[in-house]
């Protein structure tokens, strides 16, 4: 069981690392919007109807 003497400090290091990550996440605003990401994950990367070349609609931006 002497391995615990090594494992516990290791766990402590891990806790410090996770704590730092958490503080960084709070500081950088990861928790500011708790609603949007739930939708965002459903909406990413949309293959728009492939048969739609949108002919002649003259939109200047096709840069997506």
């Amino acid at each position: 069981m002497e391995i615990v003497y090594l494992l516990l400090p290791l766990a402590g290091v891990l806790v410090v690392a996770i704590g730092a990550a958490l503080l960084w996440a709070v500081r950088s605003g990861q928790f500011d919007d708790l609603e949007g990401p739930a939708y965002r994950i459903l909406m990413d990367d949309d293959p728009v109807a492939p048969d739609d070349p949108a002919p002649g609609d003259g939109a200047p931006h096709a840069d997506d």
């Binding site: 069981m1 615990v4 003497y5 516990l8 766990a11 402590g12 806790v15 996770i18 704590g19 958490l22 503080l23 709070v26 500081r27 605003g29 928790f31 500011d32 919007d33 708790l34 609603e35 949007g36 939708y39 965002r40 459903l42 909406m43 949309d46 728009v48 109807a49 048969d51 739609d52 949108a54 002919p55 002649g56 609609d57 003259g58 939109a59 200047p60 931006h61 096709a62 840069d63 997506d64």
Partner: protein, 837 residues
């Protein structure tokens, strides 16, 4: 999927909604765009431009995903002009920050976001702009944070991209209070996270220690575990629990101990004793209880703060509802305009408001007719038609045609600004019940401290080894946190829910008082009736009708009374000016036209001032109508018969209030037959007519002397004294007078439905508060003896106390979530929202 969510498929009749914004496509127009391979009909060039841009950039998926039609984009040129103004340092300086030499960051408030698809569209759009490094929209707050490379693009260009997909971007710089709230939220979140993280570690060690105590454990290992737990608990106590320590210290210094004191004592005692036990290697350790207690307590506080932040966000969205730029005309009635910052507008300026644009200031329509939506101000979904001479308020959206508006108020003086001020006041004030609970909690704390002392001494004397855990349990289990959280959390949620329905509660107490009301007293004109009377008939008594109209209109020029409005509308445009105008609230007006002095108003008022009595026979044919009389010193010159309609929901409201156990009274300054007719059709048994404001005041006082709790519902302009006398004052806020009244509750839409919303929410809030208080008291008084008897170990005390706080806050949050079914059965845009695919 190919249908792209258009519910109407290929139907092409006149009533077809615009594919983009849902407004009806004007007959005969032909704006089309190809979206998803199908030609779509659109209502205006602006919407077509937006739809083409969205489809052309490959973002057509937006139309499948959105849950609501988009904002009308007819004011595209203004959107673009507003975006260009973002580059102007005076306008957007406050929202930008330099990150380094080239990168800048800005926060923008986006108007027009209705669902998650909007967020997706904007982020997608900006991701395609060269030079934009990062763009993120916060869905609940509608704020965009964008970072860009200043060498490759500018904020104005970014704003223009947002405008091209139909949204309005405005600089956003939070005021000090918002920053504090946001800072508090993050600080609390940090503490909560750290407490949870370390708490879990401590718990793991504790489980091992408990197991060791049962099955036996190597003593060296046990010491090692105890020291590890101690080390992990230090940040929990020193960092995470610091708000409680600070709160307790403040309470002690002010000699009014709050609920933080027993919490702190419990934490300090449990931690101190455990630390001592670790040092001396004798006795029990309770690090797990300490960590769990701190974590759960912070959790309850976080929920409460989140509710407050949500309320503040909603207020804030109201505050920024006006655009930052306006088209100011260089010459009145001209077409030549310049784009100026809204802050530069002054009363008296003339502004052009194109269709699809939001009004930047309050004003009066000078030219053009249109339809305005005041939905986000008043909760009233039906657009309001506006004609020249009508008042329009800043923040309302012009839906139909361009108009010219003469500015009457701007900046801090607008209706919108005062609504925001009132709302903030209501949220700031602690309602009476909350203050009561605070006082009760204060007394309770002293009792708890005393009991803890007694318990400690008793156990010290009888079972010295047990005194510490028992005392800690008593201190923690009886903390009256739930008692203090019960009311504010419920009131905050309820106020926000009411605001969404167009009911502005300006005093925190009003909600609670509304449940004690025994008598609902209504004014008639403008309250139970629509207050937009039409002139039905004019009797000229020695004056030609036309001249009578002209004189009446001149006398009523400055008056806000609804009858005045009707008289003004009937008058020929070039009315003679009146001098020495004097108004008698609740009676009428007097003034001089030419050389003659006139009195105009209710028959009783005119009789009081001139001594002339209107011959009853003149208006005998109009028993149900209101009368206004015009007289000079000689005799009565004219009588005006005015008709008004009863509001559609009045009867249902009267019925509902009665079913809640209230008595409904009608006190009116109008004449007998008119009031009687209204009372009869609404089945109101108690009514009085011909009352001056002073008389109404007397009646309300008399009611109150008999023990009645009176809610007065009036139009707010000439009922002020009565409103002030009533325990709950409710004013119909319509148009420009929306928030200028001093009432506890303002019905912003001018809709009676607000009264029943108030009553219903008041009762619901009361029920929740009572549940909360009952639960808190039951819990505290039930747990106290058990803890004092030593039946509750500290960890159970911590869990029980925190759970009781969480229950209370969660129960209160229900109020904000519950939504009454929408009561409008005639949506004007008439379009079923496209389903999210």
């Amino acid at each position: 999927m190919n249908d792209n969510g258009d519910p109407n498929g290929g139907r092409h009749d006149g009533a077809q909604p615009c594919f983009h914004c849902g407004a009806p496509v004007p007959p005969g127009s032909d704006w089309r765009a190809m979206v998803g391979g199908v030609a779509r009909s659109l209502c205006c060039p602006g919407c077509r431009a937006v739809a083409e841009t969205i489809a052309g950039a490959g973002h057509a998926g937006y139309y499948q995903r959105r849950a609501e039609p988009a904002r009308n984009a007819a004011g595209m040129s203004d959107l673009l002009a507003g975006a260009a103004a973002l580059d102007h340092p005076s306008l957007a300086g406050g929202c930008q920050r330099d990150l380094d030499a080239h990168r800048r960051e800005a926060t923008l408030m986006i108007a027009g976001i209705s669902c998650a698809a909007c967020v997706w569209l904007i982020e997608r759009r900006l991701a395609g702009v060269p030079g934009v490094l990062q763009a993120e929209v916060n869905l609940p707050t509608h704020r965009l944070t964008v970072r860009w490379d200043r060498r490759r693009t500018s904020l104005g260009a970014i704003g223009a991209e947002i405008a091209r997909v139909g949204y309005l971007a405005q600089p956003y710089s939070p005021d000090a209070r918002r920053r504090t709230l946001a800072g508090q939220r993050r600080a609390l979140l940090r503490r909560l996270g750290v407490a949870g993280l370390l708490g879990m570690q401590v718990m793991t060690l504790s489980v091992a220690l408990y197991g060791g105590a049962w099955y036996g454990m190597d003593p060296a290992m046990e010491i090692f575990f105890r020291w590890s737990a101690l080390l992990l608990s230090v940040p929990v106590v020193a960092f995470c629990a610091s708000p409680f320590l600070a709160g307790a210290w403040r309470g002690v210094r002010r000699a009014s101990p709050g609920m933080d004191l027993p919490v702190t004592l419990g934490i300090a005692l449990a931690f101190g004793a455990s630390a001592w036990a670790t040092f001396t290697n004798r006795g029990e350790v309770y690090f797990d209880s300490v960590a769990m207690f701190v974590f759960l307590l912070l959790g309850a506080r976080y929920l409460e703060l989140a509710a407050r932040a949500r309320a503040a966000d909603a207020t804030e969205r109201l505050a920024v509802a006006t655009p930052d730029t306006a088209r100011r005309l260089r010459l009145p009635h001209g077409d030549d305009y310049e784009i100026v910052a809204s802050a530069a507008l002054r009363p008296g300026d003339w502004v052009q408001v194109p269709d699809g644009a939001t009004l930047a200031a309050d004003g009066v329509i000078a030219a053009g007719e249109s339809v305005f939506s005041e939905a986000h101000l008043s909760g009233e979904s039906a657009p309001v038609p506006k004609r020249p001479g009508d008042r329009v308020i800043g923040g309302s959206l012009n839906l139909a045609h361009p108009v010219t508006v003469r500015v009457s108020a701007c900046g801090e003086h607008t209706v919108l600004a005062s609504i925001v001020r009132l709302l903030e006041r209501a949220h700031r004030e602690r309602p009476r019940l909350a203050r009561l609970a605070d006082r009760a909690a204060g007394a309770f704390v002293l009792v708890v401290l005393l009991l803890a002392l007694v318990t400690a001494l008793y156990w010290q004397a009888h079972a010295p080894g047990e005194w510490l855990p028992v005392t800690v349990a008593v201190l923690i289990v009886t903390c009256p946190c739930a008692l203090s959280l019960a009311t504010p959390a419920a009131v905050t949620s309820a106020l926000s829910a009411l605001m969404r329905e167009g009911v502005l509660v300006t005093r925190g107490d009003a909600l609670e008082n509304s449940t004690r009301v025994t008598h609902w007293v209504f004014d008639k004109t403008g309250t139970l009736t629509e207050g937009r009377p039409r002139l039905v008939r004019t009797f000229g008594l020695g004056l030609p009708e036309q001249e009578a109209h002209a004189i009446a209109a001149a006398l009523e020029r400055g008056s806000q009374h609804p009858l005045a409005e009707a008289l003004r509308q009937a008058a020929p445009p070039a009315a003679a000016p009146a001098k020495e105008l004097r108004s008698f609230p609740g009676g009428g007006v007097s003034g001089s036209v030419g050389k003659t002095r006139y009195w105009l108003g209710a028959p009783a008022f005119v009789t009081r001032h001139t001594g002339h009595v209107l011959d009853q026979a003149v208006c005998a044919g109009y028993p149900e109508h209101s009368l206004a009389v015009l007289a000079d010193r000689e005799c009565i010159r004219a009588a005006f018969v005015l008709g008004d309609r009863i509001r559609p929901r009045a009867a249902a409201l009267v019925e509902e209030l009665r079913s809640r156990g209230g008595e409904v009274w009608l006190l009116s300054g109008d004449r007998d037959s008119a009031v009687q007719a209204t009372a009869a059709s609404l089945a109101i048994a108690h009514w009085e007519s011909g009352l001056a404001p002073g008389d109404k005041l007397q009646r309300v006082r008399a009611l109150q002397r008999t023990g009645a709790v009176v809610a007065m519902v009036g139009d707010g302009s000439n009922d002020s004294p009565v409103l002030a006398q009533a325990q709950v004052s409710i004013a119909m806020g319509t148009g420009a007078r929306m928030a200028a009244v001093n009432a506890d509750v303002v019905l912003l839409g001018g809709e009676l439905a607000g009264v029943s919303a108030l009553a219903a929410t008041g009762w619901r809030t009361r029920r929740v508060i009572r549940q909360n208080l009952a639960w808190a008291l039951l819990y505290n008084f039930g747990a106290l003896p058990a803890a004092a008897l030593g039946l509750v170990p500290p960890w159970l005390a911590a869990a029980g106390m925190s759970a009781s706080s969480l229950v209370v806050v969660a129960n209160a949050l229900r109020l904000g979530r519950q939504r009454r079914p929408a009561h409008d059965d005639t949506p004007v845009t008439g379009r079923a929202p496209a389903q999210v695919a």
